[in-house]
């Protein structure tokens, strides 16, 4: 493999709360290669978004207490705030979950979409606006030059998300982090936005980190994925392999819980029993063991490391590391 574009190494991000220290990101490592789309999957509160925020150093009030984020030969956790601002929006762009609130209601859309180039490329308002209008057209906003004069509330949710994507692309960044970009949208609009992200990835060669809790989205979009649970990566590998043959019981349970069209009528859904753990007071050993149907005695005692299991995947699970196949219970 070539040198990765972005490499997260053993990242730790904590939040201090009244109840204690929350290890929101607890030793996460992964690589992102040029041009690829990487999925980060997991339940709410498993640390997906905090991982993304930590890459951008926007994790406030959380603190990065360990690890590295290597990007173009420099560690983003160590560079100055000034240098980090130069990276944000120019090299790494981000789009957010809720397009309804991610645009400032008091400014026209064109003004906001052109803000990154005014900030980073030093373009004057006219040049920045014309490039923003061009980009709005490319992300599928009809009559872009007229719509650029609209205020955000005149845009639909899907159009606002398109505008956010356009805003991210105006500086032609190398990495685009999409934090649940379709969660707040209708299903049909979701499909359009995902198509758009795929086209962006292909045409601009922008490497994309797609954060989602929707496995279907990952299946359609990502070459590789990592699965997170309680702040840790529990499984990583090529999407096709992980889907065909999950090596961590959490992934296995997630895949099994997806309702199937070809299932028997009246067949009950198969949820994962129990609730995600309290991050202040994690279970001993593997954090997933209280909910795991495959658990063995060792799981409550020792924390498994993320190591190679099978040909292409890595998993943090004592059961599969011992060679056991995950089969229906």
């Amino acid at each position: 493999m070539t040198q990765p574009l972005l490499e997260v190494q053993d990242l730790h991000t904590v939040f201090s709360t009244k109840e204690g220290t929350v290890k929101a990101v607890d030793g996460v490592s992964f690589e992102l290669h040029s041009g690829e789309t990487l999925g980060i999957v997991g339940e709410s509160g498993c640390g997906k978004s905090v991982t993304a925020m930590s890459i951008m150093r926007l994790q406030r009030p959380g603190r990065i207490v360990g690890g590295k984020v290597m990007f173009k030969g420099q560690d983003l956790t160590r560079i100055s705030e000034y240098e980090m601002r130069e990276i944000r929006g120019r090299e790494i762009a981000m789009i957010f979950q809720d397009p309804m609130t991610s645009l400032n209601p008091v400014y026209r859309v064109g003004w906001q979409v052109s803000e990154p180039t005014r900030l980073h490329n030093g373009w004057d308002a006219r040049k920045a606006l014309s490039s923003a209008v061009n980009m709005l057209g490319r992300v599928g906003i009809p009559s872009a030059s007229a719509r650029a004069r609209d205020y955000p509330h005149q845009f639909s949710g899907g159009m606002r998300q398109r505008a956010m994507i356009a805003m991210g692309l105006t500086t032609t960044p190398q990495v685009l982090i999409a934090d649940e970009p379709t969660t707040a949208l209708d299903v049909t609009i979701q499909a359009q936005i995902l198509d758009l992200l795929r086209d962006v990835n292909r045409e601009f060669g922008t490497a994309t980190i797609l954060i989602t809790h929707n496995l279907g989205v990952v299946a359609g979009m990502c070459q590789r994925l990592i699965v997170m649970y309680a702040g840790k990566v529990v499984e990583a590998g090529p999407t096709a392999d992980v889907f065909a043959n999950p090596k961590h019981p959490y992934t296995w349970s997630l895949l099994r819980s997806i309702p199937r069209l070809d299932a028997e009528r009246h067949e009950p859904l198969k949820p994962i029993e129990g609730l995600p753990p309290n991050l202040v007071d994690l279970p001993s050993g593997c954090a997933f063991h209280p909910r795991c149907v495959f658990r063995v005695e060792r799981c409550a005692r020792d924390v498994p490391a993320l190591i190679q299991v099978g040909g292409t995947q890595r998993a943090a699970c004592w059961v599969t590391q011992a060679g056991t196949e995950l089969k229906g219970v």
Partner: protein, 308 residues
């Protein structure tokens, strides 16, 4: 072009919107202005304030062409005159023209009021924004400071300050603003705390904007409506405070006329000429009433939810 065909076949809302491009962009400001315009009493009050402000600004012109007197011209032959052709609104115990003095008094009252509002808004907004935006210990320190300022009995502070500093319009405004900024800071901080939660702040930070840009370009326009409401409601209140200070002899010093010290002066001659008491009183009353009504209209226009 990214996926134009896909847009055509799938994006039906977008296709429908094309026809709507001729519709004017209805911004928040436009809508507020429409609502304000619909409020006739509010507009009338606003126009009245505007007229008073114009009169105040052009006081020298008015005393030259309308009343033909200067505010401090003494004429002992024409004391305590009733309103009439020589003195349109009568004269006082030294024969000074009442209308001229009222016009020049408007200068003081409105000038001090606007100056005070400008000062307390500037300081209050800065403190409130910094406290709300940075949070943590900065917030704690600044807000305790605000609590302290608001706990000081204002009238005693005014009295003390008026003794220490020779009151003119500028120092008087500074004295009143030194207390007034506290409530503005609280208001702005609360608003910033709520706006800060919205994703566009995070999104703007994610494009590499610095803190000052976030505060001035993104937060400030979003708290501006509450500031405008606070300013317009504050004017009436400050006119009253200023008049009270003048009346107590702690504000603008005679012979410079102000509505407050005209009242003080008039209390000695209450039975000789009721006009001397009534006219400055009416001036204060009408101005305060108009600015409160205009303030209410502004509030209703900018934030219909606040309407009780």
């Amino acid at each position: 072009m990214i996926g134009p065909s896909r847009v055509a076949e799938l994006d039906m809302p977008a296709a429908g919107i094309e026809t709507g491009t001729a519709r004017p962009a209805q911004s928040y400001w436009n809508e507020s202005w429409e609502r304000l315009r619909a409020n006739r009493i509010g507009i009338a009050a606003g126009i009245l304030i505007l007229i008073f402000a114009v009169i105040a600004v052009m006081a020298p012109l008015f005393s030259l062409i309308l009343t033909h007197y200067q505010p401090q011209t003494i004429n002992l032959d024409q004391t305590f005159m009733k309103p009439g052709s020589t003195h349109l609104l009568g004269s006082d115990e030294l024969g000074r023209d009442t209308l001229t003095r009222l016009i020049w008094g408007a200068r003081v009252s409105l000038g001090v009021a606007f100056l005070t509002v400008a000062m307390s808004l500037t300081l209050g907004t800065t403190v409130g924004m910094v406290a709300g935006y940075y949070g943590g210990w900065i917030d704690d320190v600044l807000m305790r400071l605000v609590d302290t300022v608001l706990a000081i009995p204002a009238i005693f502070l005014f009295i003390l300050m008026s003794i220490l500093f020779r009151p003119n319009a500028f120092t008087l405004a500074a004295i009143v603003a030194s207390v007034g900024w506290g409530s503005v800071a609280r208001l702005v901080r609360g608003e910033v705390l709520s706006v800060k939660q919205r994703d566009f702040i995070l999104a703007t930070r994610s494009i590499g904007a610095r803190d000052t840009r976030l505060m001035l370009r993104h937060l400030l326009p979003n708290v501006l409506p509450v500031l405008i409401v606070a300013a317009s409601l504050g004017v009436g209140q400050i006119i009253l405070i200023e008049a009270a200070l003048d009346f107590l002899g702690l504000g603008i010093q005679p012979p410079t006329p102000s509505w407050g010290n005209m009242l003080t002066n008039a209390q000695s001659y209450f039975f000789r000429s009721g006009f001397l008491v009534a006219l400055p009183g009416i001036a204060i009353f009408v101005t305060v009433l108009a600015s409160n009504m205009f303030g209410n209209a502004i509030r209703d226009a900018f934030d219909p939810r606040l309407k009780s």
